[in-house]
């Protein structure tokens, strides 16, 4: 049975993104924030842990390796079924991260991009759904708080469509700013044009990102699951999500996982 409402399905197909307000309950949000804070503390103490460590943008790569709670988010019942319906029953995880964007950085207009357009050859992206990126907001993200900007409908653009240049991300004509409350989630087709915006608020923007693809696709480099993480994949769906299943043969994992799996 479809899980996207007709309104959601049409909105996503038309615009290439979907907002799920209140995806996390207050209790869930508080627990995830605690786990994210602990991960951040560990990451700061260990410069060898992977990520991006420039002051205006910090990124903890492979966030699933830090706390089992993040794996629960990958299968969150209010969001994951929607993503699975968009991508198909062979859905898998490609990469995952925790982004922290403090105020004061400088993002230029060249930051506009798609996740797949110049990276995934061979797929006709204007009519495909090869990736979908889910973003959970762990803090309120106001209009001027570094919200993701998207160009609605641009996932249908062919690869050579002339998207105009802009000096600053916020100058792109026709864009929409995905400002949202903490606990909200949104996801977009990997072929959607998007950009981070400048954080001119007085708070750090904190978001978790989970990039989904298909089980026959390879994981992003550095996101191959550790033995610790693989051990947590107790269900067929979790094994599929981590790429610990056959790539092409055999059935896709059932969802929800059968009892006792």
């Amino acid at each position: 049975m479809p899980v996207l409402t007709e309104a959601q399905r049409l909105f996503f197909e038309t615009n290439g993104y979907l907002m799920v307000e209140g995806a996390l309950s207050p209790a869930e949000l508080a627990a995830v924030r605690r786990a994210a804070d602990t991960a951040e503390d560990r990451w700061r103490r260990r410069p060898d842990l992977p990520g991006n460590r420039v002051p205006e943008f910090e990124q903890i790569d492979a966030i699933l390796e830090y706390d089992p709670l993040f794996f629960d988010l990958v299968e969150h019942p209010k969001v994951f079924p929607l993503v699975r319906e968009v991508l198909g029953p062979d859905v898998a995880l490609l990469d995952h991260a925790y982004y922290m964007t403090p105020p004061g950085g400088l993002v230029k207009g060249s930051a506009w991009h798609t996740d797949v357009g110049h990276r995934i050859f061979g797929v006709y992206h204007p009519r495909s759904a090869i990736m979908a990126r889910v973003i959970y907001a762990l803090t309120d993200v106001p209009e001027n708080g570094g919200a993701t900007l998207v160009l609605p409908g641009s996932h249908h653009y062919p690869v050579d469509f002339p998207v105009p240049g802009a000096k600053w991300p916020e100058e792109m004509p026709g864009h929409v700013r995905l400002a949202c409350k903490a606990g909200s989630a949104y996801f977009y087709n990997g072929n959607l044009w998007h950009a981070p915006s400048n954080n001119r608020s007085d708070t750090v923007r904190r978001v978790l990102l989970f990039n989904y693809g298909h089980r026959w696709m390879r994981m992003w480099k550095g996101h191959e699951p550790s033995p610790w993480l693989a051990e947590q994949a107790k269900t067929p769906m979790r094994r599929q999500l981590l790429g610990l299943c056959r790539a092409y043969y055999g059935p896709d994992a059932e969802y929800p996982a059968p009892a006792g799996a």
């Binding site: 198909g88 061979g122 797929v123 495909s128 090869i130 390879r218 992003w220 480099k221 056959r246 043969y249």
Partner: protein
């Protein structure tokens, strides 16, 4: 200079397949045939080695693991550049096999696509190209691959599936002399033919995809094979590079610049 002529490109784009006559010169063909015979002997002697052992098909899975000459063919100086032009610079090996179709093998309603993934708009995508090297002459009734030209861009209803492969309307048969190669889009509708000749059909088959795709189950290169990858392109072909990072140049190993 492009590695593909306009005639080759237009033919492939229109038909979904392309024949490369004399891809293997006689001396290389002889070496490949000898290596295949040795591989087959070893494979038959050891049932633990992976493969398909049916009355209508013997399939030696992972033929690259048997002899370095098969890696040489994977990087064929004429064929690989053609595949790369048609697939993109991120080309990678997905699987590799030695197929033997016994005399008398027949198939019923075997027409299929190799590609059919959720989320992908296949009529305008190209995820795989399969390359077949003919190791022994395939006569008209010798089980040559039957292809429905142009079907790689069909959309909507799947074409009919005929009881006898060769009965498919408008189809063509890959009945070719030894040493030939033919390329086929993974979305081309095709079927193995009925082998009603007195010759076993022997093919070396390489499927190429993109490096962001997983290698087919059971074909991950062994450490021994991986150690043979002497060039960046060979490492890319064996899935040993960053799946979403820079692409390898063709390089000297492929005979191009």
């Amino acid at each position: 200079m492009p590695a593909i002529t306009l005639e080759q490109r237009y033919f492939f784009e229109a038909n979904g397949y392309l024949v490369v006559p004399d891809a293997l010169p006689p001396d290389q063909l002889a070496r490949v045939q000898a290596a295949c015979e040795a591989a087959e002997e070893r494979w038959r002697a050891d049932p633990d080695l992976p493969g398909v052992r049916r009355h209508d098909l013997d399939q030696v899975i992972g033929i690259l693991e048997y002899d370095p000459v098969f890696l040489e063919v994977l990087e064929h100086p004429v064929v690989l550049p053609l595949v790369r032009e048609l697939m993109g610079p991120d080309v990678m090996m997905i699987d590799n096999d030695y197929f033997i179709t016994p005399v008398g093998a027949t198939i019923h309603k075997g027409w299929h696509y190799d590609e059919g993934f959720p989320g992908v708009y296949h009529p305008r995508s190209r995820l795989m190209i399969k390359v077949f090297y003919v190791l022994q002459d395939i006569p008209q009734n010798g089980g040559g691959t039957v292809i429905l030209p142009g079907s790689h861009v069909f959309f909507g209803t799947r074409p009919v599936n005929t009881e006898v492969p060769e009965d498919m309307p408008a189809s063509v048969r890959m009945c070719l002399p030894a040493g030939s190669a033919y390329l086929m889009a993974g979305r081309a509708y095709h079927c193995v033919g009925n082998n009603l000749s007195e010759l076993r059909r022997k093919l070396l088959i390489y499927t190429y995809g993109h490096k962001w795709m997983r290698i087919w189950d059971g074909y991950l290169p062994s450490e021994r094979l991986a150690a043979q990858a002497a060039t960046p392109m060979c490492r890319q072909l064996l899935g040993l590079t960053d799946p979403y990072g820079p692409n390898a140049p063709l390089g000297a190993a492929a005979g191009v610049g």
